[in-house]
């Protein structure tokens, strides 16, 4: 296993990741490729890694496709996926990041990552990293290099010493590092939510009284 994650546990925090990269050069890898819809009848969120990239990963007879990058022995244990532009487009299925994390991936690097996939990934400790197209092209051309990802400094460190910053929302960063539970955070806003509902209800009633009085 070449990947290491400096964290108390997968749920509790994600500070730093050191891993070799595995590369899927295709652009626009959609969530139907990441996990085909026929595997979505599950009511569980665990164990979906075996379906990840199913139709690329297995041949018609069910055996592993030796041509598929993630099946190649040198990619075993890679926790960083480098993929062509616009990764994760398509359906909102959270099964996509569930399948990828179950496969052992902790970060996806592309020059563009689809909005819903990105949001889902961050809720599952899978770090979406958007880099400039020229850096992506370089990473696509150099599969298997070891990268260090530092969530604290939002930076990507290449073997030649270069450090590249990547955009990461401060809230998402805190959630990753401190293992902040987003539902727990929302539940702490419940008073504000209650006040919002009351305010709207009052405004609606006032308008209705005015309308009925006319």
């Amino acid at each position: 296993m070449s990947a290491s994650v400096h964290a108390a546990s997968a749920d509790a925090g994600f500070v730093e990741l050191i891993s070799r990269t595995a590369v899927l050069r295709e652009r626009n890898i959609d969530t139907d490729q990441i996990i085909p819809a026929r595997f979505l009848t599950t009511t569980e969120r665990k164990g979906l890694g075996r379906f990840a990239f199913n139709d690329w990963r297995y041949l018609a007879d069910g055996s592993p496709n030796p041509e598929f990058e993630l099946n190649k022995p040198h990619n075993a244990g890679a926790a960083i996926l480098v993929a062509g532009r616009n990764f994760g487009c398509g359906s909102s299925r959270e099964h996509a990041p569930w399948a990828l994390t179950d496969l052992g991936l902790r970060a996806v690097i592309s020059s563009e990552i689809a909005d819903i996939f990105r949001s889902n990934a961050l809720k599952n400790g899978l770090l979406p990293i958007v880099v400039a197209q020229d850096l992506l092209d370089e990473l696509l051309d150099r599969p298997g290099i070891e990268l260090r990802i530092d969530v604290r400094t939002r930076s990507l460190h290449l073997p030649d010493g270069r450090a590249v910053e990547f955009p990461l929302d401060a809230f998402a960063q805190t959630c990753l590092i401190e293992g902040v539970d987003q539902l727990g955070y929302l539940l702490r806003q419940i008073d504000a939510i209650h006040h919002f509902e009351q305010r709207r209800e009052a405004a609606r009633n006032t308008t209705q009284e005015q309308t009925h009085a006319r």
Partner: protein, 482 residues
């Protein structure tokens, strides 16, 4: 609730501001209130499980509505009264939603309901979808509801749990993209051709990070069904949401729906709804201009919805590795003509094109004609309501007489979870929204098209220009047939 606007604002900004429980800061995203939460069997079970693990109940079951659509059979129950589920797991998933809704007091449009159907078809037709709302669902085609001037977008299952528990979401404000469409659509060219053309123009990632507002004379002239087709595919351009400002067309549609406000409440609602429009002079982050009059019947040729071509165009020659891979998957030769390719399957249905007006268009082509012997054609109404209305007009009879299958409502062959599959290597012309590899079945090849084009291809047995089937002599109102 009246607010004074210091500067002209966009429809999106008005919707956003009206639902802010807490504004965003650098440290934290905004807390956005959700007016309507639609749930279905596929993306909700893990969310309910999460709530139960935390000892929580849904905060507003009254604002939550459930339906069964994705993994449900489109064949009727057998003589034993049992529905022919594709897998036991699919049936278990449906039972799970049923149990969750019952336990938590959430209204579910189950098989015994006259309102069951595809989540994005029933919300609007019941009048649950209304202008000025925020609407979410664990389904990326929630963008459909934006046709009513509602901020509607797809969410993941964790967020389904967030909304169930708090009726709110943590959100960063999106950028705005105006797509201005001017000019008249030519005969035989419809909303589906328009949105496929738009996606081809801006690309499958053209709307990433943005909420789209569709504007202009062409959009204003569209019916609600057509506006829904346009907004539905916003996600295919990368945008989580697509909006169209409400107008008289919207109000006329909603006035006929069972759950719209009534009487004085209706007047109050229309007054409130009509505030939800972009002010003159409001600035968008980006603007795109589309000439509608130049659009021809449009289909996809590749493996994502941005790979489109007009019906009379030639396929590209594989200008890069991705195009070459798409052409190879589709079994197409670069540079060959779009038209004339033999078709195996035709699907009319999905949240994009399964409403009454879509089925009427398909029926217009099918009436008095027969589906080519090579072709298997499925027509799947979007809801029980659509099915009833279509049958009252005799559309089911036309479909069956043409040799096509008339099915029960559901997502069916769009997502192919329920056993309605396109075979490996088969070419399907489909009115759905995604032509990804294997989307309609492992190895299936999909051409996305309008209902008119799909029906024309079914009759011809190959990809064909639907305008050839629009002889004015053959254009009777379906109503006269019944």
């Amino acid at each position: 609730m009246t607010t004074t606007t210091p500067h002209p604002t966009t429809l999106f900004e008005k919707l956003w501001n009206a639902h802010l429980v807490a504004p965003e800061s650098e440290a934290a995203p905004a807390v956005l209130y959700i007016d309507l939460h639609l749930i279905h069997e596929v993306t909700s079970p893990q969310a309910f499980a999460e709530l139960e693990a935390r000892g929580l109940s849904p905060r507003r079951p009254d604002l939550t509505k459930g339906t069964l659509d994705h993994s449900t059979p489109t064949l009727p129950a057998g003589t034993d009264g049992r529905l022919p589920y594709y897998t036991a797991e699919a049936e278990h998933q449906v039972d799970t939603l049923r149990r969750n809704c019952e336990r938590h007091g959430v209204e579910l449009f189950d098989f015994d309901s006259e309102h069951r159907g595809i989540v994005h078809v029933i919300g609007p037709e019941l009048g649950l979808t209304q202008p000025g709302q925020t609407i979410v669902c664990g389904d990326s085609h929630t963008a459909t509801h934006g046709a009513f001037g509602a901020l509607a977008f797809g969410i993941g299952t964790s967020e389904v749990g967030h909304v169930l528990a708090t009726q709110c979401l943590l959100q960063r404000r999106a950028k705005t993209l105006a797509i201005n469409v001017e000019g008249e659509l030519a005969p035989g060219v419809g909303a589906k051709d328009l949105i496929l053309h738009v996606i081809g123009e801006i690309g499958v990632n053209g709307g990433t990070g943005h909420v789209i507002e569709y504007r202009g004379s062409t959009i204003r002239a569209l019916s609600m069904d057509e506006r829904m087709t346009v907004c539905n595919m916003s996600i295919e351009a990368g945008a989580r949401a697509g909006l169209i400002a409400p107008d008289q067309v919207t109000y006329d549609y909603l006035a006929k729906t069972p759950r719209a406000p009534r009487g004085a409440d209706w007047d109050e609602a229309v007054a409130r709804w009509s505030q939800f429009k972009t002010d003159d002079g409001a600035a968008f982050d980006r603007e795109v201009h589309i000439d509608a009059s130049a659009i021809k019947p449009t289909l996809t040729w590749g493996t994502h919805p941005g790979q489109v071509a007009a019906i009379d165009a030639q396929l590209p020659r594989g200008r890069d590795a991705d195009e070459a891979k798409a052409l190879a998957y589709m079994g197409f030769d670069g540079g060959a003509a779009m038209a004339g390719r033999p078709v195996d399957v035709v699907f009319v249905g999905s949240c994009t094109n399964s409403r009454l007006s879509d089925l009427r268009q398909a029926a217009e082509v099918l009436r008095g004609r027969h589906v080519h012997p090579r072709v298997r054609m499925l027509v799947v109404p979007g809801s029980e309501q659509v099915k009833r209305d279509a049958e009252a007009e005799g559309i089911d009879a036309i479909v069956r007489a043409a040799g096509a299958e008339w099915r029960e409502p559901g997502c069916s062959m769009c997502i192919a979870m329920n056993g309605d599959l396109v075979g490996a290597g088969q070419l399907a012309v489909s009115t759905s929204n995604r032509n990804f590899e294997g989307r309609q079945g492992k190895g299936a090849r999909t051409l996305l098209a309008s209902p008119l084009t799909a029906a024309a291809c079914a009759v011809a047995g190959h990809v064909v220009d639907p305008r050839a089937y629009l002889d004015p002599a053959f254009n009777p109102s379906i109503k006269e047939v019944a």
